[in-house]
């Protein structure tokens, strides 16, 4: 008969221990797990991506319910063990459930350390340990407002980045002079601080929290209001996250009379002072050390499995640990011991422009510590050198440059791609496999992602495989591949978009031929990629001076309709703010009948799409629509598309402002303007947000006190909630901010770069500074937009319907069908 194993706790360490146990001795035990959390085992390391929205809970589950079933494990969810009776060999949970054991495994993990300041128990003071904490933070983040994170260590910074990603205004308070001082040296700590500040997170170091103050709401309950530092600084806070550290949760072990120090004392085989009780994970103390990173905990788990299966094996030893911060876009790595010392040497590489810092600490020709910031691609290799104690004297000269120079092949970042078979699909959109890309790179001498795109179509559509293509380039070309080189606009030039825009202004280039001459274009007349971009840059830079070059526009903008797969066109009249009436609808119906338009469809932008219009019919269709007062909706353009609205105070019982009126006002003010890429807007009358303003390029959410202005949302290939730009009190001010924002985008955006990508590239803070903080700049941007509108607010349909413009577009040059018939 199998022995009874009871496990207290269901985190990653006991989960791994059971996995290993079932592999080596599947029938040795009847296993019962008591889990204080009401769920199965999940990957705690990935809570940060869940908080930031990059992953869902389902994606981080390690063992689902089925795993427990398959292995015959009784999982008691939501049952917290409160007592261990070592005499009777039983454990008892809070609700009275008891279980007998032959062997007991304690894996109670750790508890967050709460700094003992007044106000620490207020509602709104949270910790960051488990999914419940994450859920509590997500609920708080939905309401927006300010968050203060106490603690600038790994956990605190990940919480801060997550809350920031969820739209909160975040301040990190850190007691020490530099962030993550246990893992980083001062230089890397400083770079990290700057990187976080660039992302809009405020960081205060040497910040000693004195107390947390309360606010009283209308129901009489109290919540956190602000955090006060010992120097008197008061920082407003809707939530406070305590992330100053963890301590082993050894309480029940101690109550049961087991030997404890900071944690439950174990030997190198994870045995406690009671031979029938083992302990594993963050709750244990070994050799005076406690552990919080996953690598040593998994190591302990393997030893526990061996111990339970009586298979012996080597004991636990302390090893060098590596740390990576899981904040998207911040590359940081540290491992080993990097303190200065008499007997130590160091190798440092700094590249201020790229924001790269690498420092290796050497002792006796061996790497004992490594800190990297900005470029951590080689961190796996360095960590291996530390763990193996490799003698590096042979390649010390090139050591800092990584394995590419040292002949090492460990932990090559492109190893995963290298291992793919040739028929593995890299680009799903265009069905391009690895073999074809690699062949093209070698046969045609390709050196950039753009080259690969041009020759194989890989990454030419949605672009999500660009990273894989880059890795294939790196793999094929080795050092010859330089991904940081500026991406040229197209094959006609080596200049990137930013440089071209700058030179247009600096050299006062006012026509495309002049630009191509001056900037030494490599082709005689450009290509289909650069010409539309240049035409836009000219239009946006020299309003009223530059003459639009129709032949440099994509067909849709040339004929003011959207080309369809069969060569017919679709026509979308403007419906201001989504408002229409019976007269307009009747005109649309009549047009559909008269021109036998096969499909009439509602668009996502609250207007009507007439699909399948023959090109020759376009002028006549427009003439009829114009007669009913309908004008071009620019549904075909890199231009202002729609301003979606809800019915606001006109009709809605929840409406706080006249959202429809504001939407119409914005659309009437801004229609006709050309932009780097399409611009979609929306105005919602209350935070219920029926107009879905928070995934638009620019959105307004009306509230009782005024207008929240949002921007940089996306709902296409990428899905992204907006950032809040500011809150204003009047419609007029809202319009001014939005116009200034779009004008700034018109001046800085790269062609085809949507607002969210532009904002990410130039930084949200620089945009906020230009259109919110600096009122003079805002006014200047507003005026520039108004000036340019003088030249673009005329209905392109009516010009063409009357045959004044581009008549050649809509009629054949000659008709030889009748001629032939006459012969």
């Amino acid at each position: 008969m199998p022995k009874k194993l009871v496990v207290v706790g269901n985190g990653m360490a006991p989960g791994r221990a059971l996995e290993r146990l079932f592999e080596s001795a599947p029938d040795a035990y009847d296993v019962t797990i008591f889990n204080a959390e009401p769920r199965t085992n999940y990957d705690r390391i990935l809570l940060s991506p869940v908080l930031s929205g990059e992953k869902t809970y389902e994606e981080i589950v390690i063992h689902g319910d089925a795993w427990y079933d398959q292995n015959g494990v009784t999982l008691l969810k939501g049952k917290k063990v409160v007592a261990i009776d070592r005499e009777a060999k039983t454990v008892t949970a809070q609700d009275g459930t008891t279980a007998d054991y032959d062997k007991l495994l304690i894996a109670t993990g750790s508890v967050p350390f709460i700094i003992p300041v007044p106000g620490k128990d207020l509602a709104g003071v949270l910790t960051y340990r488990d999914l419940d904490d994450v859920n509590a933070m997500l609920i708080a983040a939905e309401r927006g407002g300010s968050a203060v994170v106490v603690g600038g260590g790994l956990l605190g910074l990940e919480a801060a980045a997550g809350l920031k990603a969820r739209g909160m205004d975040v301040t990190v308070l850190h007691l020490m002079p530099t962030l993550m001082e246990r893992q980083l040296d001062a230089a890397a700590g400083g770079l990290l601080k700057r990187a976080l500040e660039d992302r809009g997170i405020k960081v205060i170091t040497k910040a000693n929290t004195k107390e947390i103050l309360a606010a009283h709401d209308s129901q009489g309950s109290t919540r956190v209001r602000s955090v006060v530092l010992d120097d008197g600084t008061e920082i407003p806070a809707d939530i406070v996250v305590m992330a100053v550290g963890i301590r082993p949760n050894a309480a029940i072990a101690k109550d049961a009379g087991l030997e404890t120090g900071r944690g439950i004392l174990v030997d190198d085989h994870m045995r406690t002072s009671d031979p029938d009780i083992l302990a594993v994970g963050e709750c244990v103390e070994f050799n005076g050390n406690v552990y919080g990173l996953v690598a040593p905990l998994y190591e302990q788990a393997n030893i526990v499995a061996g111990e339970l299966a009586d298979s012996g094996g080597a004991g636990f030893v302390d090893k060098a640990l590596a740390t990576k911060l899981k904040v998207t876009g911040v590359d940081l790595f540290s491992a080993g011991d990097f303190a200065d010392g008499e007997d130590r040497e160091e190798i440092v590489l700094r590249d201020a422009t790229r924001g790269v810092y690498k420092r290796l600490v050497l002792k006796d020709d061996r790497v004992i510590g490594a800190v990297m910031f900005g470029d951590t691609a080689d961190s796996g290799w360095f960590f291996q050198l530390i763990k193996d104690g490799t003698d590096i004297s042979e390649f010390r000269d090139t050591l800092i440059f990584g394995p590419a120079y040292a002949g090492g092949d460990l932990a090559d970042p492109t190893a995963a791609v290298a291992a793919l078979p040739d028929d593995a699909e890299i680009c799903g959109c265009n069905g391009v496999c690895k073999g074809r890309i690699v062949t093209a790179i070698s046969e045609k001498g390709l050196t950039s992602v753009d080259d690969v795109r041009a020759h194989t179509k890989a990454s030419a559509s949605c672009g999500t495989c660009s990273g894989l293509v880059e890795q294939l380039l790196a793999l094929s070309l080795g050092d010859a591949y330089d991904p940081s080189a500026v991406q040229p606009m197209c094959g006609c030039t080596d200049l990137g978009h930013a440089e071209v825009r700058r030179l247009i202004v600096a050299k006062e280039l006012k026509s495309i031929p002049e630009l191509m001459q001056e900037l030494e274009w490599k082709s005689s007349g450009g290509c289909a990629k650069c010409r539309p971009a240049l035409n836009y840059y000219m239009l946006a830079t020299w309003p009223g001076e530059y003459v639009d070059d129709n032949q440099s526009r994509f067909i849709n903008e040339r004929v003011h309709a959207n080309i369809q797969k069969d060569g017919t066109y679709s026509v979308v009249p403007r419906m201001w703010g989504g408002i229409t009436n019976s007269r307009e609808l009747r005109a649309i119906a009549d047009v559909a009948d008269k021109f036998e338009i096969p499909t009439v469809k509602c668009t996502g932008g609250q207007r009507i799409d007439l699909l399948g219009v023959k090109k020759d019919d376009l002028p006549a269709v427009w003439a009829d629509l114009n007669d009913a007062g309908l004008v071009s909706g620019h549904a075909y353009g890199k231009a202002l598309r729609t301003v979606k609205t809800c019915v606001g105070t006109d009709w809605c019982r929840f409406g706080t402002q006249d959202s429809t009126g504001l939407g119409v006002r914005i659309e009437k003010f801004m229609w006709g303007s050309w932009t780097p890429a399409k611009v979609k807007m929306a105005v919602s009358g209350c935070p219920r947000n029926c107009a879905e303003a928070t995934c638009k390029d620019v959105g307004v959410v009306c509230v009782e006190s005024g207008y929240e202005i949002h921007f940089a949302g996306a709902a296409g290939i990428d899905i992204k909630g907006t950032e809040v730009l500011c809150h204003v009190k009047s419609e007029g001010e809202a319009l001014e901010v939005i116009v200034a924002l779009v004008q700034l985008y018109r001046e800085q955006g790269h062609y085809l770069e949507r607002i969210y990508k532009w904002a990410k590239r130039v930084g949200f803070e620089s945009i906020e500074a230009a259109v919110v903080t600096d009122l003079e700049r805002r006014k200047a941007l507003f005026d520039a937009f108004v000036y340019s509108q003088k030249f673009s607010q005329s209905d392109p349909w009516s010009e063409r319907a009357r045959g004044v413009k581009d008549a050649h577009e809509f009629a054949p040059l000659a008709d030889l069908t009748r001629l032939e018939a006459a012969e």
Partner: protein, 116 residues
């Protein structure tokens, strides 16, 4: 008239096509696109991209090539061949410009012409 004869038909003035643009000529065989380059060269090709039949006349003309408006295939106007990674060919027709008039060789336009 035999199939070997060249039939040059005046289809319009050079100025009727915008530079770096195209116009259509309707024929019994379907539409033929006439392209005018920045240097006033004129080319005649079937108005059908070999990829998915996109109307090449609606594309952007650059150098001696046109980019199809549907999926950005680039077609060489002189040879009718797809460029880059794409493979395909568009039928081309002889065309010449004389005294500002565009003449197109039309013997291949009507398969029923000999019978007529």
């Amino acid at each position: 008239m035999t199939m070997m004869d060249n039939v040059w038909i005046d289809v319009g003035a050079l100025e009727d096509i915008p530079r770096q643009g195209a116009r259509l000529v309707k024929t019994p065989m379907g539409c033929v696109a006439l392209f005018r380059t920045a240097t006033d060269d004129v080319f005649a090709l079937d108005d059908r991209c070999p990829h998915q039949g996109g109307p090449l006349s609606q594309g952007i003309v650059h150098g001696k090539a046109v980019t199809c408006p549907l999926h950005n295939w680039v077609i060489n106007l002189e040879t009718g061949l797809a460029q880059g990674a794409d493979e395909g060919e568009v039928r081309t027709f002889p065309v010449r410009v004389e005294g500002g008039r565009i003449l197109i060789e039309a013997s291949r336009f009507g398969s029923n012409k000999d019978a007529a």
